[in-house]
C-alpha cells in the first residue's frame, strides 16, 4: 500500500494566513485605488464599458477628442446607431489599439472610428494618464500588453497587476468617497461620452511651434497598422477622423501623411477641423474650454453630421426598432437628459459647472 505523505500541520495554518492576508490586501487595494468619481472623472471611463448590456456596431477609440466630441446618445436618437466610445485622457495610439483588442473580446462592431491626434505621440508620456486609461481594463493578456507598450521608465508591470503597490501611498488622502465607491461606482459617461454643457468661446492660440521633423513616429504608426490589420482580419471598417478641436495644433504635414495612409489602404479619413463649417460648428458657442473640446451642443452637431455619413455608408442596424435596445436606451437617454438638466442648474446657480 502506498503511504500518502501528509502535509505538515503548519502548512494549513500558513495557507489560511495567506488567504486572510490576500483578502485583506484585496480590500485595501479597493479602498486605496482612486475612484475618479469627482474632480478628475476621466479615469473612470475605461471600466464603464464592462457594464454595457447591449452590443455596439460602431466603436470610437482615441483620446479626449472622441470622448468629449462625439455623443453616442445622439447617434442613437437620430439614426438608431448603437455605439460606444473607448477613450480616455491622452489615450495613446497603442492604448487605443489594445482597447480595441480588448473590446473585440466581447463584441465585433461593424465600424471602428479612430481619432488620429494621438499619432503625434511616439513614446509613453505620463504615468498618470497611463493609469487612467489602463487601470480600468479587465485583467487579460491584452491589458498586460497595453501596460508593456505604455510604461514610462519609472513604471513597473507589477504595479499594474497589483495596483496596491502603486496606490499604497494614498493612505493619507483617503476620503469618504473612497469608502463609498469601493465596490460600486456611479456612471459618469454616456456610452463613453463625457458631457459638458458650459460654453467658453474660442480664443487665440499661440503660434504652433516649428518642428524639426514632421514625420509621424514609427511606433505610433506601427500601432495604426496593427489596428488596421486587426480590423481587416475581423471584417471591420476602420475610419480615421480628426475631431474639430483646435488645440493641440494638427499640422498640415501630419494631415497629409494620414490622408496618404488612408488613400493607400482604402480607408475613409475626415478632418473635421477643415469640415467645421459644413458640420455647423460655431467655436463661439460649441466649445466649453475655448476650442480644445466640444461642449454638448458641439458634440451633438458633430455626431449628427457624422451619423449621417455612417448611416449612408455602412449597413448599420436601426436599433430604435429593437425592444431590448429601446428599453436600455430609454434609461440611457433619461440619464443623459438628467445630467444635462443638472449641469444647466449648476450653471445657473454658480455660473460654472462644479460637480462634473
Amino acid at each position: 500500500m502506498i503511504k500518502r505523505k501528509r502535509l505538515p500541520g503548519w502548512a494549513g495554518k500558513a495557507a489560511l494566513f495567506l488567504a486572510v492576508l490576500l483578502v485583506t490586501l484585496f480590500f485595501l487595494q479597493r479602498l486605496l485605488m482612486p475612484k475618479y468619481m469627482s474632480d478628475i472623472v476621466e479615469g473612470a471611463l475605461t471600466a464603464e464599458y464592462y457594464e454595457e448590456t447591449t452590443e455596439h456596431e460602431v466603436l470610437f477609440v482615441g483620446d479626449c477628442e472622441v470622448y468629449e466630441n462625439f455623443s453616442p446618445i445622439t447617434l442613437y436618437e437620430e439614426y438608431g446607431i448603437s455605439s460606444y466610445i473607448r477613450g480616455s485622457a491622452q489615450q495613446l495610439a497603442w492604448q487605443s489599439y489594445y482597447l480595441l483588442e480588448d473590446t473585440l473580446r466581447y463584441e465585433t462592431p461593424k465600424a471602428v472610428v479612430f481619432n488620429v491626434l494621438a499619432l503625434k505621440y511616439d513614446e509613453p508620456q505620463s504615468e498618470a494618464y497611463n493609469r487612467m486609461t489602463i487601470d480600468g481594463m479587465k485583467f487579460s493578456k491584452t491589458k498586460l500588453n497595453a501596460v508593456k507598450a505604455s510604461m514610462t521608465d519609472r513604471e513597473n508591470m507589477l504595479d499594474y497587476i497589483f495596483p496596491i503597490l502603486r496606490y499604497h501611498s494614498r493612505w493619507s488622502d483617503l476620503s469618504g468617497e473612497d469608502v463609498k465607491y469601493m465596490f460600486r461606482k456611479d456612471k459618469i459617461s454616456h456610452n463613453g461620452y463625457y458631457m459638458r454643457i458650459d460654453v467658453r468661446p474660442v480664443k487665440e492660440f499661440p503660434e504652433p511651434d516649428i518642428l524639426a521633423d514632421y514625420t509621424l513616429g514609427s511606433y505610433a504608426m506601427g500601432y495604426l497598422d496593427k489596428m488596421r490589420e486587426l480590423c481587416e482580419e475581423k471584417g471591420i471598417a476602420l475610419i480615421l477622423v480628426k475631431s474639430p478641436s483646435l488645440f493641440p495644433h494638427w499640422y498640415d504635414e501630419w494631415d497629409e501623411q494620414i490622408a496618404a495612409y488612408a488613400k493607400e489602404y482604402g480607408l475613409d479619413y475626415f478632418n473635421y477641423e477643415k469640415l467645421a463649417d459644413a458640420v455647423g460648428i460655431d467655436y463661439n458657442t460649441d466649445t466649453y474650454d475655448a476650442g480644445l473640446h466640444m461642449n454638448l451642443a458641439g458634440a451633438e452637431k458633430l455626431s449628427g453630421y457624422f451619423g449621417q455619413y455612417l448611416k449612408e455608408n455602412y449597413e448599420l442596424t436601426d436599433y430604435r426598432d429593437d425592444p431590448q435596445y429601446q428599453e436600455v436606451y430609454a434609461e440611457k437617454i433619461r440619464f443623459y437628459e438628467d445630467m444635462e438638466a443638472a449641469q444647466r442648474k449648476e450653471l445657473e446657480e454658480y455660473g460654472e459647472i462644479v460637480s462634473y
Binding site: P8, L28, L32, E127, E155
Partner: protein, 531 residues
C-alpha cells in the same frame, strides 16, 4: 538589484524555494550560483574583480597552509635532531615566506580597491595642489568601475587570508566554497564583514526546513524592510531638502537635518543588515550581528562597540593590534617612555594605532575628505574622552549618579547628539561647509523658525510626520525590550500562535501600505551600498 526592488524580492523567493526543494547537497552550490547571478545582474564586469580576489585568496591561502604543513612535517621529522634555536630559526624562515605571500595577496587586493576607489580622489587632490601653486595644468579624471560591495568583500577576504596566515583558520581547499564565502549575496553589498570561522560552518552545512528558523528569518526581513521602506526612505526627502539647500535651511533646521539623518542612517543601515541576516537565517545560516542598539550607548566608545560591530572588530584585529605590537611601534614606545616619561610614552602606540584605525575607517567609507575628517573627528573625541576619564571618575566619586536612570538617559542623549553631529560630515558637500553649518546651528538657532509651515516645506506631509513619530516610538520600544528582555522574536514565538501570525500580518501590511516606494518616492539605495 536593490534590496527593496521587486526583482530582489522575487530573486530571494526563488532561491529560497530551490534551497529547500533541491537535494540538501546542492544547497551551498545553489547559493554560490545565486550570488554570482546577483552580482552578474549588477554588472557582468564586476565578476572579474570578485573572481580575481577569490582566486588570489584561494591560491595564497593554500600556499600559506602548505608552508605551515611543510613546517610541521619538517619539525616532526627532525624532532630529535633540531635544537630549540634551530627550530625557532626554521619557524621564523617559514613565517617570513608566509609573510611574503600574505603581503603579495594584500597588496594585490588592497591595490585593486585603492586604484578603483581612490584614484580620482588622489587626482582631485593633486589638481587642487596644482591650482594652489598657480599651475594651469590639470590631470583628467579616469573612468573606473567601482564594483558593488568591493570594500566589504575585500576586507572580508583579507580578514580570511590574515587568519590563515595567523593559523586561526585553515585554508579552504575548495575554490567554490571559498568563492561562496567571498560572494554570499545577502551580505555582499553592505556587510556584515564576516569572519571565515564564524560563517563557514553554517554556510556550507546542509539545512533542513525548520519553521522556527524560517519564521525568525522572515520576522527579521520584514522588520528590516519596515525600517528601510517606512522610516528611512520616508525621512530621506526631508533630509535631502535640508542638506541640499544649506543657504535656506540654517540654524534650527541644521539641527533638525542632523537628527533626521541620524534616524535615516540608523533605519537604513540596520534595516539593510536585518534583511541580510534574516535572509541568511531563513536558510539556516548564521551571520554575525552588526548592531546592538547603538543609540542606547552611554558614551562614544560604547557606541562604536554597538554600531557596525564587524567593521570595528575588523579594524581592531587587523589594524589596531598589529600596529600596536609591531616592532617599530614597540621601539617607538620604548623611546618615548625613555624620552618623555611613562605618561606620554605609554600613550604613543595607542594614539598612533588609533589614529591609523580612524583614518582608515574614514577613508574606507568613501574617497572624500568628508569621510577622512569624520574618521579623525571620531579619533579626537574618543581620545579626549579617554583623557578625561580621571575627571569622570572624580565626578562619579563625588556624585553617586552612575546608577541613576535619569543620568543614564542624559548620557544616552549626549552620545546621540555627539554621534549625530559627527555624522554631519556625511551630509554636507565639503568639510568647510560642514564646519560652517555646525557653527550655524548654534549662531542662527531661532525656535520660531521651526514652525509647522517650515516643516511641511521639507517635502513631508503632516501624516508623514505622525507616521514617523509612531515609527520612532516603535523603534525605541523594540530596542528597549531587546535591551531588557533579550530577543523580541523569542517573546513573539513564546506568545500564542495567533499573536505570531498577527505580527507577520501587521508587519507585511505596514511595509506594503506605509512603505515609501514606487512612483512618487525617490526610493534610494542603501547608504552603505555606496561604501
Amino acid at each position: 538589484m536593490l534590496f527593496t526592488s521587486y526583482s530582489f524580492i522575487g530573486f530571494i523567493g526563488i532561491v529560497f524555494l530551490l534551497y529547500y526543494t533541491l537535494p540538501r547537497s546542492w544547497q551551498w552550490p545553489l547559493l554560490l550560483a545565486a550570488s554570482y547571478v546577483f552580482y552578474f545582474i549588477a554588472s557582468p564586469s564586476y565578476l572579474i574583480f570578485i573572481g580575481a580576489t577569490t582566486v588570489s585568496a584561494y591560491v595564497v591561502s593554500l600556499r600559506l597552509d602548505a608552508l605551515k604543513e611543510e613546517q610541521d612535517a619538517y619539525i616532526k621529522a627532525n624532532k630529535g635532531t633540531l635544537t630549540r634555536e634551530e627550530k625557532k630559526a626554521y619557524k621564523a624562515s617559514v613565517k617570513a615566506r608566509q609573510w611574503k605571500w600574505l603581503l603579495l595577496c594584500l597588496l594585490f587586493n588592497l591595490g585593486i580597491l585603492a586604484v578603483l576607489k581612490y584614484t580620482n580622489f588622489v587626482i582631485a587632490n593633486f589638481n587642487g595642489i596644482l591650482s594652489a601653486f598657480g599651475s594651469g595644468g590639470q590631470i583628467s579624471f579616469v573612468d573606473l568601475v567601482l564594483p558593488m560591495g568591493i570594500s566589504f568583500y575585500t576586507f572580508q577576504t583579507m580578514g580570511y587570508i590574515i587568519d590563515v596566515y595567523r593559523g586561526t583558520s585553515r585554508a579552504e581547499k575548495n575554490l567554490f566554497r571559498l568563492a561562496l564565502f567571498v560572494s554570499f549575496f545577502p551580505q555582499l553589498v553592505q556587510g556584515p564583514i564576516s569572519r571565515y570561522h564564524d560563517l563557514a560552518r553554517s554556510l556550507y552545512e546542509r539545512h533542513d526546513f525548520n519553521t522556527k528558523t524560517v519564521s525568525y528569518g522572515l520576522y527579521r526581513i520584514l522588520w528590516g524592510y519596515f525600517k528601510k521602506a517606512v522610516v528611512a526612505d520616508r525621512i530621506l526627502t526631508a533630509v535631502n531638502t535640508i542638506i541640499q539647500d544649506p543657504d535656506t535651511y540654517q540654524g534650527g533646521f541644521v539641527f533638525v537635518g542632523m537628527m533626521f539623518y541620524a534616524l535615516e542612517l540608523y533605519a537604513d543601515f540596520t534595516g539593510g543588515i536585518d534583511i541580510t541576516i534574516g535572509i541568511a537565517e531563513t536558510m539556516g545560516i548564521t551571520v554575525t550581528e552588526n548592531f546592538q542598539r547603538p543609540y542606547l550607548s552611554k558614551n562614544i566608545k560604547e557606541y562604536w562597540n554597538r554600531w557596525h560591530i564587524t567593521m570595528g572588530t575588523w579594524f581592531t584585529d587587523y589594524i589596531f593590534y598589529p600596529i600596536s605590537v609591531c616592532k617599530p611601534m614597540l621601539r617607538l614606545s620604548r623611546f618615548s617612555r625613555a624620552r618623555f616619561g611613562d605618561i606620554i610614552g605609554k600613550r604613543v602606540p595607542v594614539y598612533l594605532s588609533s589614529f591609523a584605525v580612524w583614518f582608515t575607517t574614514g577613508i574606507w567609507h568613501g574617497a572624500s575628505w568628508n569621510f577622512i575628517v569624520w574618521g579623525l573627528m571620531n579619533f579626537v573625541v574618543i581620545m579626549i574622552s579617554q583623557e578625561c576619564e580621571p575627571l569622570y571618575q572624580k565626578f562619579h566619586n563625588k556624585f553617586d549618579v552612575k546608577e541613576n536612570k535619569w543620568y543614564g538617559f542624559i548620557e544616552i542623549i549626549r552620545t546621540i547628539f555627539l554621534m549625530s553631529s559627527l555624522r554631519m560630515f556625511d551630509c554636507y558637500r565639503d568639510v568647510p561647509l560642514t564646519f560652517r553649518m555646525f557653527g550655524n546651528m548654534f549662531t542662527h538657532f531661532r525656535l520660531r523658525d521651526l514652525n509647522a509651515e517650515a516643516f511641511l516645506g521639507l517635502g513631508l506631509t503632516g501624516a508623514d510626520y505622525v507616521l514617523l513619530f509612531v515609527c520612532l516610538i516603535l523603534l525605541v520600544s523594540v530596542s528597549l525590550i531587546q535591551e531588557k528582555k533579550g530577543s523580541v522574536r523569542d517573546l513573539i514565538y513564546a506568545a500564542p500562535e495567533l499573536c505570531r501570525y498577527a505580527v507577520f500580518f501587521l508587519l507585511i501590511l505596514a511595509v506594503v501600505i506605509f512603505g515609501a516606494y514606487g512612483i512618487g518616492f525617490d526610493q534610494s539605495q542603501f547608504i552603505y551600498n555606496q561604501f
